[in-house]
């Protein structure tokens, strides 16, 4: 947890001053009984009306001073809590930015989202309460014990007996409930996941008329959550009653001891009253503390969940001194194998490829043959389990991934756009891009009519690009990649939603790009790759053939089969 709380450092001043001012306020409260005593002794005793009035005003003044102290304390603690969580949110978000693809696959996005939202809120509430109240309770408890010792050290021993017992109950309940609260939070995660999933799959679910089944599914998750919440509630509700019993038994013992000592002439009746009052004060504080502890426990459970993400140190390592390759080659794959973590078999097996600058490389193969896996290796989205991937003659593991990725533009299979204007989305490719560049990219991507339909570059795109059709989204994601003017352009089956005319025009435009990037074109259609300088045919992760269209038609049965599956009937026309 130390890493987590290191973000509190910036608020050291607030964290010290807040509780201290709270203590000062508590101390002021201790003066009140003394003033009342003097009003009784002097004011009433001597009939001094002026004194009574003055002391009453002093009471008001003390209240005012307390108000100032506590308002300042509240401000400090609110600032520290809100500021700390703001920093923590920043830190977690930044931390997630560094995760490699494999880590994102493993942890899962939805749980990261809960940690960014509801866990953070709980930590904020917990810290705020802690700063406001946590110091106060021990202060009052131990203060009362010390006061008891000044009165009678024998009777005060009951305080010494009761306080560890109380501490045991408080911390026992806390330790017992902490994992339970974590369980609640995890179940909340699942309820959240169910909701998200339902919203994302709303069309399919309604098409299958699963509304009622979905409701049932949600209710089951929700019921489980409620059960967990009630269970932990039952345990944490023990704290107040148990401490109440302990304190009252201590009172009983105290009075018994007091009775004996008064009887023996060692103590006065007034002293017994005072001792009892101090024990009562402890009780009042404990009740406050119990409410606080529940919140703190919950917050700690949430903090742990945040911490567990912060502890994941998966980063793309840069390994120095790896042997280089031929710098004349733009991309080289040297007997590369890839196995995803947890997968039963290799996604790629000993694949080799040499791509020169400006070449068009076609990658073709069946569903699940490893086409995407192959191109994902080039920007080092995933790391090869065996073999080497080299870009410009340098092993990608020896390059800063960001430097590497700036050379590359990817059009992913799933066309994802973001809320904002079309321009903002295109600028993802290159932030400094001129309007002229944007227009050219839009033209080349055959997206002019998409842009026009949305009212130009300022046209708004909704979250996930929902207000666009699949084909429109694909064209804009292609334009976004072209804005980057990359050395290497990867199109991962990214024209699947385009009609033939548009697709053909797009391929033509790609061939005429002025900067002549090396293009990796993943496709399932031989028409798309037939013009390529080199075509790689994949079959279940292995290379089934490599060469030009004509060579492959000649030599590669798999390629021939793919080609025929698309052309047999048309050719007969």
């Amino acid at each position: 947890m130390s890493e987590l709380f290191s973000h509190l450092k910036a608020y050291r001043k607030e964290c010290v001053l807040g509780p201290l001012l709270k203590l000062a306020e508590a101390a002021l409260e201790l003066f009140v009984p003394m003033i009342v005593a003097s009003v009784i002794d002097r004011g009433i005793g001597l009939g001094d009306r002026g004194y009574i009035l003055r002391m009453s005003l002093v009471l008001v003044a003390l209240g005012l001073l307390g108000l100032i102290f506590s308002v300042t304390a509240q401000y400090f603690s609110a600032r520290a809590a809100v500021g700390f969580v703001t920093r923590l949110r920043h830190a977690l978000y930044a931390h997630i930015q560094g995760f490699p693809y494999a880590t994102l696959d493993r942890i899962g996005i939805p749980t990261l989202i809960t940690r960014m939202s509801s866990d953070m809120n709980q930590v904020q509430t917990g810290l705020n309460l802690t700063l406001r109240l946590l110091l106060r309770s021990p202060f009052v408890v131990f203060g009362a014990m010390i006061m008891a010792f000044t009165i009678d050290s024998t009777a005060a021993l009951w305080f010494v007996a009761a306080i560890p017992l109380l501490a045991l109950v408080v911390f026992g309940v806390m330790l017992l409930t902490m994992p339970m609260y974590r369980g609640v939070q995890e179940q909340l995660d699942r309820v959240l996941g169910t909701t998200r999933e339902n919203l994302n799959g709303v069309r399919v679910l309604r098409a299958f008329r699963k509304e009622a089944a979905e409701q049932q599914r949600f209710e089951e998750q929700n019921r489980l959550l409620t059960a967990l919440q009630q269970r932990v509630g039952r345990v944490s509700a023990l704290m107040n009653p148990v401490t109440y019993v302990i304190v009252n038994l201590a009172v009983v013992a105290l009075i018994r001891t007091g009775a004996l000592r008064v009887n023996a002439g060692l103590l006065t009746q007034g002293a017994v009253v005072a001792l009892y009052n101090y024990m009562s004060q402890i009780l009042v504080e404990l009740i406050k503390l119990a409410n606080l502890i529940i919140n703190v426990t919950k917050s700690l459970a949430c903090a742990k969940r945040i911490q567990s993400v912060l502890e994941i140190q998966d980063r793309e390592q840069i390994t120095e001194g790896l042997p280089g390759g031929d710098p004349a080659l733009r991309v080289e794959l040297d007997r590369v194998s890839l196995r995803y973590p947890g997968a039963a078999g290799d996604a790629l097996e000993s694949v080799s490829l040499r791509a020169e600058a400006g070449q068009l490389i076609g990658v073709i193969g069946g569903t699940g043959s490893g086409k995407s896996s192959l191109v994902n290796l080039i920007p080092r989205f995933y790391e090869a389990t065996e073999g080497r991937v080299l870009v410009d003659g340098v092993d990608v593991r020896g390059m800063d991934p960001r430097v590497l990725r700036r050379k590359i533009a990817v059009v992913p299979q799933k066309a994802t756009l973001f809320q904002g204007s079309i321009r903002e989305n295109l600028l993802w490719g290159e932030e400094e891009a001129s309007d002229e560049l944007l227009t050219r990219a839009v033209q080349a991507a055959q997206a002019e009519e998409v842009v026009a339909a949305k009212g130009g570059l300022e046209g708004e795109i909704e979250q996930f690009g929902r207000n666009l059709s699949g084909g429109q989204r694909q064209r804009l994601t292609i334009a976004r990649a072209l804005v980057r003017q990359p050395e290497i352009l990867i199109l991962d089956d990214s024209s699947s939603a385009l009609d033939f005319a548009t697709d053909a025009a797009l391929r033509k435009a790609l061939g005429q790009l002025p900067q002549r990037p090396t293009i990796f074109l993943v496709s399932q259609r031989t028409t798309a790759v037939r013009g390529a300088d080199q075509i790689l045919v994949l079959e279940e992760g292995r290379v089934a053939g490599q060469g030009t269209h004509e060579e492959l038609l000649e030599s590669c049965p798999v390629y021939r089969e793919i080609h025929q599956s698309q052309f047999r009937k048309e050719a007969a026309q």
Binding site: G63, E214, I255
Partner: protein, 655 residues
């Protein structure tokens, strides 16, 4: 929704929260009684202690027997108090979490009935934040309210009685002055409510942002946008910091301020009490020091709950702001209700009807004028949860029994689909589909082609009744689809979309989505037909491999194969295939063609595809452009026409 929630939310929301509590009134009553008992006992124990101390007068003047009995009594009562206290907490927990569960269930249930036209415009993250985070915050506030409000109130009443019995004049001063703290608390609360709303809004915005950007984290990384994404996040984060600080700080003023009011009250009691002591000294009805100290003690006791209550008030404000947002969600008008009477042949249990079956003629059908779905909200209309829950039960059992029969195609649908001068647009300014008419005879294969954005996907939205037409009508077997239940209509369709969606769960669970009772053999047969069996077999746990919501390691094409197998398992009389094979390689596609052909035989099929090999087999080809059908015919006749279609077809060989 034009109303500004900051003004209206508190009062209306409060009423609805109380309504939500109604089913638990017995438990709440129980909790109140137990709280009262706890307070009485906790006030009584000090009295016993006082009596015991009165028996410890001085050396050799201690009544040991009396003290002993009293101490025993204290011990027993303390145990009893603790027990009742625990019971109160357990009851409060139960009520609070159940109410929250009810609200979540209802909110989720409402989500299932909201029209896609509304859902499509929402951010998933925002909705999730409403159902999860807001409801959670509401729960916290509610629980706090419960645990402190009742004990507070009972304590106030108890001490009030004691004070009045000692000195009505001073009790009067206390009674008059103490509500000041309420005034202060109210003042602060009413001014901080808008801060809480703002905080809640910005928080929702942040959740939506996190949802969108983290959801596409891979794209962010691919474009090296990590820093920019972080910078934009920080911008919202900073706004949230400012707004949270305001909300938290200003609301936390309540407690110190009311405490200050209390110290003024205390000083007033000291002043008047002491003066009274001085002026009545020596007279017969003298006000004694003992009475004063007792009054002071009670004054303290009396004002303390006010502090707690006002503390609770601020927490409650936050909770209400959150509840307000949830209720706002639940106020969204639902889909127009299904017609109540189902025609013969469906036979599903019918939810109890309350009136005439609404006849949807053209002009009445707008979403705003739909019965049960006025802006007031179906929530209130249904008179609280108890009755609403009953009604829900009927609904659900009806739905479930309908669901059970998924898989057996609705026997009474032949599959004649007729679009009769249909027009539709997503927004009023941009008309999309206008005056579209055509008829698909049972068993026909209808291919829809055209450039992207020509309205193909929209047509599917209309056929499935995800959206309602603006003008004209769609008829299945001669019946307007608005006169069928959505469930009946959709049971007739099998749909495979280009955007594959799989749920987190096992492969098998995903496959049997439409037919939960399918046998393993049926599942495997469907998968073999869809050519999904071979890759499923290679997965670590075969059909029981758990995949994440985004399909995990499966490729887009594999996911599509699963979606096809999913439909092949149920085989309804009509099919909608929207680019269903776009991510599947042609070799595999060719292999599943047979299965597809078999599946489509005798079934009316709507096929959106760009692969002309798929299209040329169709009986009717609709060529669409800008929402209109510009050419219609079969492959040969269209080629002969030499129009748009032939241009499109020939472009396949362009490169």
């Amino acid at each position: 929704m034009k109303r500004t929630p900051s003004q209206k939310a508190p009062a209306g929301t409060m009423k609805r929260v109380l309504l939500a509590l109604k089913p638990y009134r017995l438990l709440i009553l129980c909790s109140v009684l137990c709280s009262a008992a706890t307070v009485a006992l906790t006030l009584y124990i000090p009295v016993l202690v006082g009596r015991a101390i009165d028996r410890i007068l001085g050396p050799d003047a201690v009544d040991f027997r009396g003290v002993g009995t009293l101490l025993l009594e204290i011990g027993v009562l303390a145990g009893l108090t603790a027990l009742v206290q625990w019971l109160v907490s357990v009851i409060n927990n139960r009520v609070c979490f159940r109410v929250v569960r009810d609200i979540r269930d209802r909110a989720f249930g409402h989500l299932q009935r909201l029209p896609l036209s509304w859902l499509d415009r929402q951010s998933v993250g925002g909705l999730v934040s409403q159902i999860i985070t807001d409801v959670d915050q509401f729960a916290d506030g509610l629980l706090l309210g419960f645990t402190q409000l009742f004990t507070g109130l009972v304590t106030i009443l108890g001490t009030l009685g004691f004070m009045l019995s000692i000195k009505p004049l001073i009790a009067g001063i206390v009674i008059v002055l103490t509500p000041l703290s309420f005034v202060v608390a109210r003042f602060i609360a009413s001014h901080t409510h808008s801060y809480f709303l703002e905080q809640s809004k910005i928080r929702g915005r942040q959740t939506a942002y996190v949802d969108e950007l983290l959801g596409s984290q891979k794209v962010v990384k691919a474009f090296c946008r990590e820093e920019r994404s972080l910078a934009d996040f920080d911008e919202i984060n900073r706004r949230l910091e400012k707004s949270s600080l305001k909300a938290i700080f200003y609301s936390s003023l309540t407690n110190p301020c009311t405490r200050f009011v209390n110290s003024v009250v205390y000083a007033a009691v000291v002043l008047t009490g002491a003066l009274l002591c001085v002026s009545t000294a020596g007279s017969a009805g003298a006000f004694t020091v003992g009475s004063l100290s007792a009054l002071l003690a009670y004054a303290n006791q009396y004002t303390k709950p006010f502090n707690e209550i006002s503390g609770v008030v601020t927490e409650f404000q936050n909770a209400l702001a959150c509840a307000g947002r949830i209720f706002e969600l639940m106020d969204q008008p639902t889909e127009s209700p299904d017609p109540i009477k189902t025609p013969a042949g469906d036979g599903s249990p019918v939810p109890p009807s309350t009136g005439e079956r609404p006849h949807f003629c053209h002009s009445e059908r707008s979403e705003e004028s739909v019965p049960f779905a006025s802006a007031e909200g179906s929530w209130e209309k249904r008179e609280g949860l108890a009755t609403a829950a009953d009604a829900d039960c009927h609904d659900r059992s009806a739905d479930r029994s309908r669901n059970d029969r998924i898989g057996t195609p609705a026997p009474n649908i032949r599959g004649e689909v007729c679009l009769d001068s249909v027009s539709f647009s997503y927004d009023k300014e941009n008309p999309l589909i206008e005056n579209l008419s055509f008829t698909a005879r049972p068993g026909q294969r209808i291919a829809i082609v055209g450039p992207t954005g020509c309205g193909k996907t929209t047509l599917i939205n209309l056929l499935m009744r995800f959206y309602d037409v603006d003008g004209g009508a769609i008829r299945v077997d001669g019946r307007d689809i608005r006169e069928m239940t959505r469930s009946q209509l959709r049971a007739g369709y099998g749909m495979v979309l280009q955007e594959t969606w799989l749920r987190s769960g096992t492969i098998r669970e995903n496959l049997t989505l439409g037919k939960p009772d399918a046998t393993d053999a049926q599942v495997e047969a469907a998968c073999r037909a869809a050519h999904a069996h071979s890759f499923i077999r290679l997965l670590p746990q075969g059909y029981d491999t758990v995949i994440g919501e985004d399909g995990g390691m499966l490729s887009q094409g594999q996911k599509q194969l699963l979606c096809i197998a999913r439909v092949m398992l149920c085989l309804p009389p009509m099919l909608i295939l929207d680019e269903a094979t776009s991510s599947i390689d042609t070799r595999t596609e060719l292999k599943i063609q047979n299965a597809f052909a078999k599946m489509m035989r005798g079934r009316t099929s709507f096929i959106v595809a760009h692969r002309l090999s798929t299209i040329r087999e169709a009986d009717v080809i609709l060529v669409m452009k800008e929402g209109r059908v510009i050419e219609i015919g079969n492959h040969e006749s269209l080629l002969e026409q030499g129009g748009f279609y032939s241009k499109l077809y020939n472009s396949q060989f362009a490169l």
